[in-house]
């Protein structure tokens, strides 16, 4: 389980963020609520990034695991940032 959590951590943050935003848009569309979701998600991503960098690389498997983890967080960061934009540019109506 630990390995899977490391591998998928970043993308799980993305999942939470995306479906959270969808729920907000459906139930209570508001810019500030999306911010309340986005900021913690970015925080977790940053945390995962820092932790991922400190993961040990004692063998090829661990090294591979670390690469996937960091790459996943990087993609997640980009996607979460993009998803934070619509309320500000497209409006909330």
């Amino acid at each position: 389980m630990k390995t899977w959590a490391i591998l998928l951590g970043g993308l799980l943050v993305w999942t939470t963020h995306f479906f959270g935003l969808y729920a907000i848009a459906e139930i209570a569309p508001s810019r500030w609520i999306t911010v309340l979701l986005t900021v913690p998600c970015l925080g977790v991503d940053a945390f995962l990034l820092l932790r991922g960098r400190r993961l040990e690389v004692r063998d090829t498997f661990a090294g591979w695991r670390r690469s996937i983890a960091l790459g996943g967080v990087a993609l997640s960061l980009v996607a979460v940032c993009w998803q934070a934009l619509p309320p500000w540019f497209a409006g909330t109506e």
Binding site: T3, P86, E93
Partner: protein, 840 residues
């Protein structure tokens, strides 16, 4: 390296063993994995046969749907043509899309997985061979019957997306739509079965030492593919169930005049439908990532990045479904989220494309046929990807949506992303199963015609779309300015078809199946395990894997494998078996005894087909008989599985001993049951979403649900069901002979609890009264189905107990039955509480 299971990795150093193996071992393997004769071709379950059947059938559907495409192109070659009358055209375009997506693309890549994965992972077979056989036969029989509806003019005509209300009873009174729902039903069954097979196969039957970071990239692709099926298909399963129920019983899920909502269908369909595109694309991309290193004679550059890209695609593709719905009036913010995710999903595709280019750059690329198709695929796929980014932008999509621009886009993506890699794969892997490879000289022509034809056919469609030509039109008026472009497209389509025809001729000339006599072999000089010498039992012994391209890194590996110097060089228990390894590091855990050939999967598939077909033509008695026979056939197929094994553990080579029977979370059966539970859970979750969605969009039709407090006894009842299932497992563990009784009781109580719930709701609403009633009773229907399966499983367990084949202390059948009964309780509990809370 730290061990995952307590297995000492140093033991791997005992291989390859020295000296010759005793006489008779290879004969033993051959005897157990012998080839079928005569009628036995219907009872085979071995992936070497089922994989080929599967591929052949899927390719047949490619050809059939391709012919439909040509017919459409003829009709559209000039304005007001009368080759296909309107009604026929509408059926033909519906079938073209449906057959290509459901009967060709998904089964084709699944078939490639069935054929290739055991070879690549050096497993003897996939872990559930009978399930593969069942999935294949259900698909083949059902698919052909479905296609046959075209010849009697009863083919579906609502488009492959089947939007209600056009497909509701009011506007499609004929049984055409029911044929669609039937045909898709089969694909749903076989796709889910295949996904279970592939997930467990990839994670648990890899060669020892093949840790996740050494797994062939195709196996990664298939793993992500299978997980995506498990998450995405439940949505379309539910959608098709709801639509069929609406049509048959008048429950108004999608009828806006009665509290339903046609947009609900679109959400359910596209939550499946867009991931579906990646479900098709990922395995093909996996093939590309296997073929290109061989073609370029270099290791794959960016293996880690590609694995990352595949996993990321698996996630992000679930956040893009509504980009098919930008024109439905989504609020701009909502549309924006889907637009952003659609941008994000293009990043992993870019990573893969640049990895392939990088691999070409570091290697010495050969321009053989697989290479040409791979390069052509990159060009076409990138073009389709770029138009994909365009339509991900909402304002552009408002213009391009449902025009020929989209037709062009999707054909670039699917032909570049799937069909070209598939042709590369056929040229590449056919020497693995055929005595002769395909002709390189002809291959160039095939490629040239297909590449040229594809671009000539689909490039002009971008323009006709921008000129205002909508999709799904059976004709157009003169003077629209679309004539020339359409004529060019038609010519290109025939050129593409000529390439495929040439391929077929080449196949007829050179393809000779040779499961026993030896294949053409590793003609391209690849480095992965599927190119080891094999028989019907796959490899003679199962190698220890130390790198990603073992054949490149260890020149002796083929000989050592062939001489039995690795794991399991014989049949250890005298039956079909394979080594089950741990999911992360692939350390050997136990020997799985596999079921052999059986007529029952075939029979079960026939009766499944009979059941659905009879339902479609409203022969209810026949359907009932077929359904019962189908269930009996499944029980017969199960009867000789999970039997007590005389040997507790066996030597799998070099003195390493592993058990022959394990239970609990380690066992492959447990994994399969968990995956099935995820599938059921997803179907149920989508049903919960449907209820909430209707409430959100049609609140004026809502009535107050029964009080939550009254649900208390029902909820407690469901908790008791869960406890009973858990109790049975614990009691059996401590050796109580009556251990199964609590689970049996639980299985019987669950339907009674459902009955109570239905009673309470019947006082408030009825299933045909409105959207709320329909959605609530749909939840109950699902619960009823699960509860019925639980009862059936409990009875089966009781029967095994009477036969005394429920092994003492630990038993898989008992474990899995308990798991399912517990799930039944949990689903019932959630359903009861959720239904009463929506709109309370």
């Amino acid at each position: 390296m730290k061990s995952e299971t307590g297995f000492d990795p140093d033991l791997f150093n005992r291989f390859p063993t020295q000296g010759d193996r005793p006489e008779g071992e290879e004969e033993g393997l051959k005897r157990v994995w012998c080839a079928p004769k005569g009628w036995e071709y219907l009872t085979v379950v071995n992936n070497n046969y089922v994989g080929i059947y599967y591929l052949g059938t899927a390719f047949l559907f490619f050809l059939l749907a391709g012919v439909l495409g040509l017919l459409m192109r003829v009709q559209l070659a000039a304005p007001l043509m009368n080759v296909l009358p309107q009604a026929t055209y509408n059926q033909v375009f519906t079938m073209h899309g449906t057959v290509m997506m459901f009967l060709f693309a998904v089964p084709m890549v699944e078939a490639a997985g069935v054929l290739l994965l055991p070879q690549m992972l050096a497993a003897r077979d996939l872990p559930f061979p009978r399930l593969s056989a069942y999935a294949f036969w259900a698909y083949a029989v059902g698919g052909l019957a479905f296609f046959g509806s075209l010849f009697i003019g009863l083919a579906p005509d609502g488009g492959w997306f089947m939007y209600p209300p056009l497909t509701s009873k009011a506007y499609s009174p004929g049984i055409n739509t029911d044929f669609w729902l039937l045909g898709i039903g089969f694909i749903e069954i076989s796709a889910i079965a295949g996904a279970v097979e592939i997930i467990v196969g990839v994670l648990r039957t890899r060669a020892p030492g093949m840790s996740l970071d050494k797994m062939p990239i195709f196996a990664w692709a298939m793993l992500v593919f299978a997980v995506m099926i498990v998450i995405a298909f439940p949505s379309v399963i539910l959608a098709t169930l709801l639509l069929e129920i609406e049509r048959a019983f008048n429950w108004p899920f999608f009828d806006a005049t009665r509290g339903g909502d046609p947009v609900l269908w679109q959400h359910l369909f596209w939550f499946f439908g867009h991931p579906e595109v990646y479900i098709i694309f990922l395995p093909a991309a996996g093939m590309m990532s296997m073929i290109i290193p061989t073609v370029a004679r270099a290791e794959l550059v960016g293996y880690r990045l590609i694995v990352l890209a595949m996993i990321a695609t698996g996630f992000i593709s679930f956040g893009v479904w509504a980009h098919h719905m930008f024109a439905t009036g989504l609020p701009p913010m909502t549309a924006g989220f889907f637009s952003a995710a659609s941008m994000a999903v293009s990043l992993p595709a870019g990573i893969q494309v640049f990895s392939w280019i990088a691999t070409f750059a570091v290697g010495k690329p050969r321009f053989n046929t697989p290479g040409l198709f791979a390069m052509g695929s990159v060009v076409i796929f990138v073009t389709g990807g770029l138009t994909g980014v365009m339509v991900a932008l909402v304002p552009f999509d408002w213009q391009a949506h449902d025009t020929y621009f989209i037709v062009a886009h999707l054909h670039y993506v699917l032909i570049g992303g799937m069909v070209f890699p598939l042709f590369a794969a056929m040229y590449y892997w056919i020497p693995m199963v055929s005595r002769r490879p395909l002709s390189e000289r002809w291959g160039r022509w095939v490629f040239g015609l297909m590449f040229g034809g594809m671009n000539i056919a689909f490039m002009p469609m971008h323009l006709s779309g921008l000129m205002g030509m909508p999709r799904r039109i059976y004709t157009y008026l003169p003077g629209s300015g679309w004539d020339t472009l359409n004529l060019i497209s038609t010519l290109g389509a025939f050129m593409l078809a000529a390439g495929v025809l040439l391929f077929l001729i080449d196949m007829a000339r050179n393809f000779r199946l040779a499961p026993e006599e030896g294949e053409a072999g590793n003609v391209f000089g690849a480095g992965t395990l599927e190119w080891l010498p094999t028989g019907l039992y796959s490899t003679r012994s199962i190698p220890v894997v130390k790198s990603r391209e073992p054949l490149w890194d260890d020149p002796n590996i083929s000989e050592d494998v062939e001489r039995g110097r690795y794991f399991l060089p014989r049949t250890a228990t005298g039956r079909r078996e394979t080594i089950v390894t741990s999911p992360l590091l692939a350390e050997p855990q136990y020997v799985q005894i596999m079921p052999g050939p059986s007529v029952w999967p075939f029979a079960a598939a026939l009766f499944t087909a009979g059941f659905f077909l009879a339902l479609t033509v409203q022969a209810y008695l026949f359907a009932l008989v077929s359904g019962v026979l189908g269930i009996l056939a499944v029980l017969c197929w199960l009867a000789d599985t999970d039997l007590p094994v005389p040997e507790n553990d066996v030597d799998i080579g070099a003195g390493i001993r592993v058990p022959t029977y394990v239970t609990g979370p380690q066992s492959h059966g447990w994994w399969a049951m968990m995956i099935l539970i995820v599938v059921m859970g997803m179907i149920f979750a989508m049903a919960l979403f449907s209820l909430a969605f209707l409430w959100g969009n049609q609140p004026s039709f809502w009535t107050a649900p029964p009080p939550m407090l009254e649900a208390l006894p029902i909820a407690l009842g469901y908790l008791a069901v869960i406890a009973a299932a858990w109790g049975t497992r614990e009691l059996h563990r401590i050796g109580k002979s009556w251990a199964i009784l609590p689970a049996l009781a639980g299985a019987i109580v669950a339907p009674a609890l459902l009955w109570l719930d239905i009673g309470a709701w019947s006082a408030v609403t009825a299933p045909d009264a409105g959207g709320q009633g329909a959605a609530v009773f749909a939840l109950f229907s699902l619960q009823g189905m699960v509860a019925a399966i639980a009862v059936l499983m409990a009875l089966y367990l009781g029967w095994r107990q009477l036969r005394r084949v429920v092994t003492a202390r630990r038993n898989n059948t008992l474990d899995l039955t308990c798991l399912f009964i517990a799930y039944t309780g949990a689903q019932g509990l959630v359903g009861t509480l959720f239904a009463r809370s929506i709109g309370a």
